[in-house]
């Protein structure tokens, strides 16, 4: 039977984490299911959690007055959602909504933040992992901003 410990231990994000730290993380974790359309958090709300998506899809949305609500990114199976709990002022920058029924593990970021302050080695281990995700998302955003699929005027092979 899959336990929270076995799932998190085998997850690439937590792989290699020392057992006592893993136990601490597991202590802050809980299974959760979001129904299709359910909002996980809203832009501007306090960010105290993060998620390991097990199965499903979460959309991160921004609303602009001109264009209405837009999905800027989706997070799917196996991916980590949320790092605003790590960075002051600890508020969400997007609204997250389940596009389909989504099973996830929620982790108490506020609790972990306190543990990281007490134990900087744990803090460094988690920051390294989040820095990797941030780098991946930053690269992806840069490519997104390039709008590489925009049509170009000269005749080229298509």
């Amino acid at each position: 039977m899959e336990t929270l410990e076995s799932i998190l231990k085998d997850h690439p994000f937590f792989r290699g984490l020392e057992p006592h730290y893993l136990a601490l993380v597991v202590g802050c974790a809980a299974n959760v299911v979001f129904k299709e359309g359910q909002v996980l958090f809203r832009e501007g709300e306090e960010a105290n959690l993060f998620y390991v998506v097990r199965h499903g899809r979460i959309a991160l949305e921004l609303t602009s007055p001109e264009r209405g609500a837009l999905t800027v990114q989706t997070v799917g199976d196996g991916e980590i959602l949320g790092w605003s709990w790590l960075i002051p002022p600890y508020h969400w920058h997007y609204t997250a909504r389940a596009v389909e029924e989504t099973r996830a593990i929620t982790l108490d970021g506020k609790c972990l933040r306190g543990k990281c302050e007490e134990d900087h080695h744990l803090g460094y281990e988690l920051l390294k992992r989040f820095a990797h995700i941030m780098e991946e998302r930053l690269k992806a955003t840069q490519v997104q901003l390039l709008d590489v699929y925009c049509p170009h005027p000269p005749e080229k092979k298509v």
């Binding site: 209405g68 989706t74 490519v143 699929y149 925009c150 298509v158």
Partner: protein, 281 residues
């Protein structure tokens, strides 16, 4: 039917083809099905292209997007971006086009046999990869896992929707689609095509990857494939340059020591790695 490289009137002489069907794919992309007026047509390899000539207007290099097993029906998927392709967009059933080719190097289908195949397409880049999928599906047992990753601008820009749905429904193929931006009514993935890669399962050391799309997209995808363990020698990409003659004579499509029309458009990554990202090339 003539052979793959047989150009009965010489490579600079267009043959007449009649537009037999027009399929609107998206707002600015359409597919033309052409049938030969002179002779039986030609066979071609996946990834090859032709020069399509709108009489009195000019030529444009267009990849063949149809089934290589059906050379009598020549299929091209075209984005209307300029004068010539804009004129193609106005063609009607029964109109005549000039066709030269096929030109260029095909995708490495023989090398792909027995291996996992990862296809990564961006935007209109799905069109030159569609013949690969037709060939794989015609002889599915020859290949290992087949993964198609497709990214495009918005949900409205998705090409070959019906076929993508059909391929997604197959148990022997993994199809992932993403868009760069979408409204909240879109239920699929949002994000660049590289974000799809970690979700897929394949054996990196026994994989051949074929990439077609904007060069920036391909560079990021190559980096992620190699991080995953795919060898540089097992990555192929289709390059886009301003092809004119199609036979490596005019020099318009020079790419370092290569002519894309003759030495490409499909290149093995390790052969062109040093040229990618070089400005003014």
């Amino acid at each position: 039917m003539t052979g793959p490289c047989a150009l009965s009137h010489g490579p600079m002489h267009p043959s007449r083809y009649e537009v037999s069907r027009i399929q609107r794919e998206t707002n600015d992309v359409f597919t033309l099905e052409l049938e030969p007026v002179d002779g039986d047509g030609f066979s071609f390899g996946p990834g090859q292209f032709t020069m399509l000539y709108v009489f009195g207007m000019g030529e444009a290099p267009i990849s063949i997007s149809g089934d290589p097993a059906n050379g009598a029906k020549l299929v091209h998927t075209i984005r209307s971006v300029g004068t010539v392709t804009g004129a193609m967009d106005k063609l009607k059933k029964g109109d005549i086009l000039g066709v030269r080719g096929p030109f260029g190097t095909p995708w490495p289908m023989e090398e792909a046999a027995g291996r996992d195949v990862v296809l990564a397409a961006g935007g209109i880049g799905l069109a030159p990869l569609r013949p690969v999928l037709y060939q794989i599906m015609a002889d599915r047992q020859r290949f290992g896992k087949v993964v198609l990753l497709y990214g495009t601008r918005t949900p409205e820009d998705i090409l070959f929707r019906d076929e993508l749905e059909e391929w997604r429904g197959r148990m022997d193929m993994e199809v992932e689609v993403t868009v760069d931006r979408a409204g909240v009514d879109w239920r699929g993935n949002v994000g660049v095509v590289t974000t799809l890669l970690p979700r897929t399962v394949f054996d990196p050391v026994n994989t051949i990857a074929m990439l077609c799309g904007p060069e920036v997209m391909m560079r990021f995808m190559i980096a992620d494939l190699m991080k995953r363990g795919v060898l540089a020698e097992a990555i192929y990409l289709s390059m886009e340059r301003n092809m004119k003659c199609g036979i490596g004579m005019c020099g318009h499509c020079q790419f370092g020591p290569y002519f894309v029309c003759k030495d490409g458009p499909v290149f093995r990554y390790d052969k062109v790695r040093w040229l990618l990202g070089v400005r003014e090339i």
